[in-house]
């Protein structure tokens, strides 16, 4: 679901999807989950990518630290966003806490307190309106979601405390990006992306 900006420095963008991180890791039963999405990425993607860079004598892209930092938070942000707009998906969602709460705090100590506060608000809303299918939309986003003009995913980068979305004007038109790297990619080839439309 999420491109992770693994470019090679020339503006070519590789896409590594973390749909796995968003749904599978959060919804897989704990006893069948050998490691977290972050641990998976660190072992199978990050380490391998660094070896490849080293092999070809390339430097890490400037946003490398952002990418690594997002392994702690982005898939949690996008999942909370997807849950909040679940009616637009043909997927069943659930609050990822319960028995997973301790596990998530252990695996993602850097930002879990912030994410937990988001789920607390969702829980509070369910508690207020009561459970049941008739109350689904009472615990749901009502505003139209906004998407990044580069990666075309919901504006879910950053953390619950720091929104990284940014507006940029190009040729008299406003564009909105979820993050600085997405804007950077756009600026490398504006003619390529300027007329993209959210499908």
């Amino acid at each position: 679901m999420r491109n992770t900006w693994l470019t090679n420095g020339s503006g070519e963008t590789g896409a590594i999807f973390d749909f796995d991180g968003t749904l599978d890791r959060l919804l897989t039963a704990l006893d069948q989950r050998p490691y977290s999405f972050k641990e998976f990425m660190e072992e199978w993607i990050i380490d391998q990518f660094l070896r490849t860079l080293d092999e070809f004598g390339l430097e890490k892209p400037w946003y490398w630290n952002l990418l690594v930092d997002e392994l702690d938070i982005y898939h949690h942000m996008i999942y909370a966003s997807a849950y909040s707009y679940r009616a637009t998906f043909m997927v069943q969602f659930c609050d990822p806490r319960s028995s997973r709460r301790k596990w998530l705090r252990q695996k993602y100590p850097k930002y879990w307190d912030d994410m937990d506060a988001v789920w607390e608000q969702i829980s509070e809303r369910w508690r207020t309106v009561g459970p049941g299918p008739a109350n689904e939309f009472a615990v749901h986003g009502t505003a139209l979601p906004t998407f990044c003009d580069l990666c075309q995913l919901p504006l879910s980068a950053g953390t619950p405390r720091k929104n990284t979305a940014r507006v940029f004007v190009h040729d008299g038109r406003k564009y909105i990006f979820c993050s600085e790297p997405c804007q950077w990619i756009f600026l490398h080839e504006p003619e390529r992306y300027a007329n993209h439309r959210i499908s």
Binding site: Y85, T88, F89, Q92
Partner: protein
């Protein structure tokens, strides 16, 4: 978006889904438990053991 801004389509997402796209609960994603979570039932339990 143009249809929303012109007033042709509703700007509220639930209305957009149900009235404009004619979607039904059979087609959209749901909370699989419909918000019926054990820790919410135990919310007022002073121990709140499920939240620890």
């Amino acid at each position: 978006m143009k249809r929303v801004l012109s007033g042709e389509a509703p700007a509220q997402l639930p209305n957009l889904l149900t009235e404009y796209f004619n979607l039904t609960p059979d087609t959209w994603g749901k909370d699989v438990h419909n918000g019926d979570y054990e820790w919410l039932r135990a919310w007022k339990d002073p121990a709140r053991s499920l939240l620890d």
